[in-house]
C-alpha cells in the first residue's frame, strides 16, 4: 500500500524541473532577442512547423526502432490534411481517431 502523502521523490521532480525551466526560460529572458538578424528570425519562425512535424513523424513512422507505415500514420496524415482543409485542429484530431479505429477494425476483420 502506497502512502499517498509520501514526499521522497519530490526533490527529484524539482531537480528535473530546474533544467526544464531553464531551457524554457533562457531564450525568453535573454535581452536583445528582437534585434537578431533577419535570417536568424526566419530560422526561429520555421522551428514551429519543423519541431512539431518532427514530433508527429517520429511518433507515427517509427516503431521498435524501425521505419513503419501503419494505420496510425495514415490516420494522422488524413486528419492533418482534413484539419487544414477545414481550418480546424479539432476536426483533424477527430478524423484521425475515427480513421485509426476504422483501419484497425478492417485489419482485424
Amino acid at each position: 500500500m502506497i502512502d499517498p502523502f509520501r514526499t521522497d521523490l519530490v526533490p527529484l521532480a524539482i531537480l528535473g524541473g530546474i533544467g526544464t525551466y531553464a531551457a524554457r526560460a533562457l531564450p525568453l529572458l535573454a535581452p536583445g532577442v528582437d534585434r537578431l538578424p533577419a535570417p536568424v528570425l526566419t530560422y526561429l519562425r520555421l522551428i514551429g512547423p519543423a519541431a512539431l512535424g518532427a514530433i508527429a513523424a517520429a511518433n507515427i513512422f517509427v516503431a521498435d526502432g524501425a521505419f513503419r507505415v501503419g494505420p496510425e500514420a495514415v490516420a494522422v496524415i488524413t486528419g492533418a490534411a482534413i484539419g487544414r482543409w477545414r481550418n480546424s485542429l479539432l476536426v483533424g484530431m477527430a478524423v484521425s481517431v475515427v480513421v485509426v479505429l476504422l483501419l484497425r477494425a478492417t485489419i482485424a476483420a
Binding site: 514526499t7 519530490v10 533544467g19 526544464t20 524554457r24 525568453l28 514551429g48 519543423a50 517509427v62 487544414r84
Partner: protein
C-alpha cells in the same frame, strides 16, 4: 496591437479556444494515463502531482517513472529529463522575438507553461495575429497545465477503471495534434520544406540515434533546409 483590429483578435481567440478543445482532451487522456502509470510505478499521490506540476513535461515524466521503476540513479534520471526537454529551448527561442515588450516576470511565468502543446497553440495564434497576444499565451499554457494536473490526480486515484486508450483510438491524439498544428503553421514554401525535412530528419534520428533526440534534431535541421532551399528562389517569408 498595431495593425490588429478587435474583430481579428476576437476571431483569432475563438480559433485558439476551438483548437484548445482537442488539447484539453489530449491532456486529460494522457494525464490520466500518467497518474495511473506513476501509481503502478510506486509513486505516491504527492510525488505524482509534483512531477506533473513542477516538472510539467509529459514525455520526460513517463521516462522518469520508467527509470524509477528499474531503480536508476537520480543523476541519470535528471540528465535524461533535461535532455528530453532541451527542445523547449527551441520553442522559447522561436517565441522570444514576439515577447520582448513584456515585463520579465511575465515572460518568466509564460516560460513555465511552455510545453509542446502550449508552443503549438501559441505559434498558431501568433501566426494568425501577426503578433503575441498575452491573454492567448496564458490561455494556451493553461489549456495544458490545468487538465494535465487534474487528470494526473484523477488517474492516480482511479486510473485502473479507465479503458486502454488504444482500444478507442485515443493513442493517435498526440501525434494528430502535433501534425495538425504543424500544417497549420505552414504559410509559405520555406515552412513546408522545414516541416517535411524536419519530419524526415526526426525519423532518421529516431531510428539511428534515439527517439528522444528526434524532435530536437528535426527542429534544428528543418529550418536550415527550409531557408537554404528557398533562398535560391529569393523566398523565405
Amino acid at each position: 496591437m498595431s495593425g490588429v483590429v478587435a474583430s481579428d483578435l476576437r476571431t483569432a481567440r475563438r480559433r485558439l479556444a476551438i483548437d484548445s478543445i482537442g488539447i484539453w482532451v489530449l491532456a486529460i487522456v494522457i494525464g490520466t494515463i500518467f497518474g495511473f502509470t506513476a501509481r503502478e510505478g510506486g509513486l505516491s499521490l504527492i510525488e505524482t502531482a509534483a512531477f506533473s506540476s513542477i516538472l510539467f513535461a509529459g514525455a520526460a515524466q513517463f521516462a522518469a517513472v520508467g527509470l524509477l521503476a528499474v531503480a536508476a540513479p537520480w543523476g541519470s534520471i535528471v540528465l535524461l529529463v533535461w535532455l528530453l526537454n532541451a527542445r523547449h529551448f527551441l520553442y522559447a527561442a522561436s517565441i522570444a522575438p514576439h515577447t520582448t515588450h513584456l515585463p520579465r516576470r511575465v515572460r518568466a511565468g509564460l516560460a513555465y507553461l511552455l510545453t509542446d502543446e502550449a508552443f503549438a497553440l501559441t505559434s498558431a495564434h501568433i501566426a494568425r495575429l501577426g503578433r503575441f497576444d498575452l491573454a492567448g499565451g496564458w490561455y494556451a499554457g493553461a489549456s495544458i497545465f490545468v487538465p494535465w494536473n487534474l487528470a494526473t490526480i484523477a488517474g492516480w486515484l482511479a486510473g485502473a477503471a479507465l479503458p486502454e486508450p488504444g482500444t478507442i483510438g485515443l493513442d493517435v491524439m498526440f501525434p494528430a495534434s502535433m501534425a495538425g498544428l504543424a500544417v497549420g503553421l505552414v504559410r509559405d514554401r520555406a515552412a513546408l520544406i522545414a516541416l517535411i525535412t524536419g519530419g524526415a530528419a526526426a525519423i532518421a534520428a529516431a531510428i539511428l540515434i534515439n527517439p528522444s533526440a528526434a524532435a530536437m534534431i528535426g527542429g534544428l535541421i528543418g529550418p536550415l533546409v527550409g531557408i537554404a532551399l528557398t533562398r535560391r528562389g529569393g523566398e523565405t517569408r
